[in-house]
């Protein structure tokens, strides 16, 4: 029930915010705050519940299930489950949702009711994506999180918002629709071989596919997730969307939406198509390395603060791809660590960029400079976040990148080495932010105000979490361990059918899917 509550709190909160704002002006933000606090506490209670149970006793690492038939004609259920991986993502969603509401507090001035509706519904969609174990439901949430996000960008974004919103929507929608086709392909192949037509995750994971089938279907899924992540040639929407979105939108985009891509690969692509994904591991990793270096290069060249941070995301997500396709537990734990750490640090960097934009009216970093003297609290926050972004030991990002690279090194050392160069590039562009914004000559004529207490609290919490997880990554890595073991077992152990076994089985059944 708590799983349904996680989603429905946000959905109902959004509706309430919209309706209440009509009668009581200014009430929407309070509704938003209450809803996101409630969600956060629900996620927290889930966490406490999870730490209370012995992970080894639950099958597949899943410790809570909610199932209700929805469209039985198609074998579709309203089916939510949560395991360690899901739990970490739910926690992140709850936390960043709260951050997004808080940061919007003083920044959003018009049409607040509709704003909070969209904000909370985006979060609800993301929450649903992390919880859905019925693939139809997953696709549904995948789509649902787009529409409100589109409105967030296109109504409350900055100058070039409409273009950015279109681009964002169309890129992700194409990916989504390809996923739908692949999803249906999987559904029918599974249905025709087993006789049970179902969108259930645990049914579909058992689908036996020929090499060719699994290759095609994998691409359908993979493209959707790679667009979201994003990976190098498909990253084009990201700088625009991140750059033009309102602050809370950027936080959600960078902190959560990108994570749905990584989550999708971990949860669906690899377990569903283990052989096919292994066969493309090398090209994918090379793309990952290219992404790291190319993202870093472009980040260095940006003058727009938000676009700069956006390109660092491209760079950081390269590590995620590399880690995923290294197919070992260490790397995967690093990947999830990276998802959390990047969500927090980049989210907070966007918060900072949003605050700077609000105070100075520009996002051009050439027009900043010497801000440390006037806004020391902002400077400290910026310094820590930038150091986190470049992967300073002691902060969560370092742990993440280290684990990813160490895991990768055991399988493909050359990729790990190449990716490590990206760390140096990260140092360069990260320090450039510090240099341009906070050091140097103060050129601004007007003094700007420092972080307000609420902003300080928001960023301080993030910084605290980054340091805490940097020193003690155990809570995350321990939580995700059982689910990672379960997921990665699809690739590593041959008992579910090695390459040759699958091929044989499917030569018999391959024709069933065709009409």
């Amino acid at each position: 029930m708590i799983l349904v509550a996680l989603i429905s709190t946000l959905v109902l909160g959004g509706l309430l915010a919209m309706l209440l704002e009509k009668w009581v002006t200014g009430s929407a933000k309070w509704v938003g705050l209450v809803a996101s606090l409630l969600t956060m506490s629900l996620a927290g209670s889930l966490w406490i519940q999870y730490t209370g149970i012995d992970a080894s006793t639950v099958s597949n690492g899943v410790f809570m299930v909610f199932k209700k038939p929805w469209i039985p004609e198609f074998g579709i259920e309203f089916h939510l489950e949560v395991d360690g991986l899901g739990l970490v993502m739910v926690m992140l969603t709850g936390f960043l949702g709260l951050v997004a509401v808080l940061i919007s507090w003083s920044q959003v001035k018009h049409k607040e009711g509709f704003y909070y509706l969209n904000l909370l519904w985006t979060l609800a969609g993301i929450m649903g994506v992390f919880l859905a174990f019925d693939l139809f439901l997953f696709y549904l949430f995948w789509e649902v999180m787009l529409v409100p996000m589109y409105f967030l960008i296109s109504i409350w974004g900055s100058a070039n918002r409409i273009y950015a919103a279109y681009k964002f929507f169309i890129y992700t929608q194409i990916g989504g629709l390809l996923m739908l086709v692949a999803l249906l392909g999987l559904y029918f192949l599974n249905g025709s071989s087993t006789g049970v037509y179902s969108f259930n995750y645990w049914d579909l994971i058992k689908t036996v596919l020929t090499t060719e089938q699994s290759m095609w279907l994998m691409w359908g899924f993979l493209i959707a997730f790679l667009i979201k992540l994003p990976v190098l040639p498909l990253h084009n929407w990201l700088p625009d969307a991140h750059g033009e979105a309102p602050t809370a939108g950027s936080v959600i985009l960078a902190g959560l939406l990108l994570k749905t891509g990584a989550y999708g690969i971990l949860r669906f692509v690899v377990p569903f198509f283990p052989d096919a994904s292994q066969s493309i591991a090398m090209p994918a990793m090379i793309l990952g390395v290219c992404g790291i270096l190319y993202g870093a290069k472009l980040a260095f060249a940006q003058t727009d603060m938000k676009r700069l941070v956006a390109y660092t995301s491209v760079s950081h997500m390269g590590f995620v791809i590399i880690g995923i396709f290294a197919f070992n537990q260490l790397a995967w734990q690093g990947v999830i660590m990276q998802l959390v750490a990047h969500g927090l640090s980049t989210g907070a960097l966007f918060v900072l960029a949003g605050i700077l934009y609000q105070r100075t009216g520009t996002r051009d970093i050439r027009k900043y400079g010497g801000l440390w003297a006037t806004v020391p609290r902002m400077g400290v926050a910026g310094l820590i976040l930038v150091l986190a972004s470049l992967g300073l030991p002691g902060l969560a990002n370092f742990v993440a990148e280290f684990m990813t690279l160490a895991g990768t090194f055991t399988t493909t050392p050359i990729i790990a080495i190449a990716a490590a160069i990206g760390l140096i590039a990260a140092a360069v562009y990260s320090l450039r932010i510090m240099q341009k914004v906070f050091y140097g000559q103060d050129t601004a004529s007007e003094k700007i105000s420092d972080l307000s207490s609420m902003e300080t609290l928001t960023i301080a919490t993030v910084v605290f979490l980054l340091i805490y997880l940097g020193l003690n990554p155990g809570p995350i890595t321990r939580t995700v361990e059982p689910s990672i073991k379960q997921l990665i077992s699809q690739v590593e152990t041959p008992d579910k059918g090695g390459f040759s076994y699958r091929t044989q089985v499917n030569n018999k059944s391959s024709s069933n899917g065709k009409h």
């Binding site: 039985p72 049409k111 529409v147 589109y150 919103a165 169309i170 929608q173 086709v181 029918f188």
Partner: protein
């Protein structure tokens, strides 16, 4: 003749009496409201009769090889009746505002529905052609009904000429098939059409041309935008939903009964037409600033989607077509309805007319947004389930190329639907002249709300409707 079961024919007889009765009442007492109420009451009676027949358990029955009364046809009769009633509600205020003499509209409207109902139960060339002509002739006059507008007259004339031309193709095709098979009813044609030869191929091809025209499929789509634009918005709703829908149904019946899908070339031709319709419809819609033209091009794409489901040819495909048509009926009637329920002379036509509507009329805009989301296939709307069904049918039959094209076309489609929604959200500048949109008619708003809720309902809880559709045995 002797063994005609009047019980089974009663809906059709009732509906055929309706225009005559309406005409009589007009002759005695000419009043718009009275005529409107009468037409609605007659349609409701028809609907009730359809439901009565639906609840009876009866065997599919042919009437003199001309008509087939079965659940499949009844389902669409019910759909047509409901769609018709909704369009009538939209039309009332529209006619009040735009036309001096409105009564004849209802007579034509009812005859058009007779044509549509005959089409959906037709299993014979004679009824197919007559149904089609009744529908088309009524539509000519209805398109030109707002005589004062040049576009309207032009649209009517264009439709007259092009529809007559396409009917000629259809007739000639029928003639060639008759020459080959010596039969006019679908079943007999099906049993003697097995041999492929030049004459039957030419006959089928010419019929395809005729049907392609009526459905507005590429490359026979050129009339669509002009007629959609020229016709009064309620009539456009009728063309987009009832007229095209009943044609799709008769096409499904024809292909199914004659088993024409055995011919590879028909599948290839349909596939090419579907792909072209989906892509060209979507691409041409991109540049439109006129809402009705935009919807016209999008309807070309939508018919392409429907064709994909038809090509699939499995058990799924009829279900998919049926569901898609239901979803499409609701959404397109809703979309055109909103264009026509403003209590002002003329219509909202340009996309820019909608600017800022979200902030001045939030409820109506939400409904409009829901209709558009349904047309584009965003989850939680009926249109999504419809599109999902179609993709399902395509994938089930292994039509990957068509499924992918559908996906691409949908993605392009997103762009122009979003553009309209975006316009509604863009606030109007403070000093801009007051919006030209007039007051809303309450009746129209109620109908729109019902439609909006239906779209959501069928999108969130499609189960019941799917169960009903599954219970229909085709033919």
């Amino acid at each position: 003749m002797e063994n005609i079961d009047f019980n089974l024919l009663s809906p059709l007889i009732l509906l055929a009496v309706a225009p005559v009765a309406t005409l009589m009442v007009i002759a005695i007492y000419r009043n718009h409201t009275v005529t409107f109420c009468l037409a609605v009451i007659l349609l409701v009676l028809f609907l009730i009769d359809c439901f009565r027949l639906w609840s009876l358990s009866f065997d599919n029955q042919m009437v003199d090889d001309l008509l087939m009364i079965d659940k499949f046809g009844l389902f669409f009769m019910i759909l047509i009746a409901i769609g018709g009633i909704l369009i009538l509600f939209i039309s009332y205020s529209y006619l009040n505002n735009n036309v001096k003499v409105a009564e004849e509209f209802y007579v034509l409207f009812l005859t058009a529905l007779v044509g549509a109902v005959v089409l959906v139960s037709s299993i014979h060339f004679a009824t197919l052609f007559l149904g089609l002509e009744i529908l088309s002739i009524s539509l000519y006059a209805m398109i030109a009904y707002t005589r004062e507008w040049k576009n309207s007259i032009e649209g009517g004339l264009k439709y007259l000429i092009l529809a007559a031309g396409s009917s000629a193709f259809l007739l000639f095709g029928m003639g060639l098939i008759y020459l080959q098979t010596g039969a006019l009813d679908f079943e007999a044609i099906g049993s003697s059409l097995e041999k492929v030869n030049l004459i039957s191929t030419a006959g089928l091809a010419m019929m395809l041309v005729g049907i392609g025209f009526k459905l507005g499929l590429v490359p026979f789509h050129i009339w669509t935008p002009d007629i959609y634009q020229g016709a009064p918005a309620p009539v456009t709703a009728l063309i987009a939903s009832v007229s095209k829908g009943s044609m799709v149904v008769v096409l499904v019946r024809f292909l199914h009964t004659t088993n024409s899908q055995q011919f590879a070339w028909i599948i290839w031709t349909f596939s090419a037409m579907a792909i072209a319709s989906m892509l060209i419809g979507s691409l041409l819609a991109l540049k439109q600033s006129n809402l009705k033209r935009l919807l016209a091009y999008s309807s070309i794409a939508h018919l392409g989607y429907l064709l994909v489901a038809i090509i699939a040819g499995s058990d799924f495909s009829v279900e998919a077509v049926t569901y898609y048509l239901v979803a499409y009926f609701i959404s397109i009637i809703g979309a055109f309805g909103i264009l026509s329920i403003f209590n002002s002379t003329g219509e909202i036509e340009q996309v820019s007319d909608l600017q800022g509507m979200f902030w001045t009329r939030p409820w109506l805009s939400v409904i409009f947004g829901v209709m558009f989301f349904s047309l584009v296939g965003i989850p939680l709307t009926a249109g999504f389930i419809g599109k999902f069904y179609v993709v399902m049918a395509a994938v089930n039959s292994g039509l990957w190329a068509l499924a992918i094209t559908l996906v691409v076309s949908s993605a392009i489609g997103l762009y122009y639907y979003l553009r309209v929604i975006k316009t509604m959200l863009t606030p109007v500048a403070k000093d801009a002249p007051k919006s030209a949109l007039g007051q809303l008619s309450t009746m129209g708003l109620v109908v729109m709300s019902i439609l909006g809720l239906l779209v959501i309902w069928f999108g969130v809880f499609p189960s019941q409707l799917i169960a009903v559709i599954r219970s229909i045995e085709v033919l």
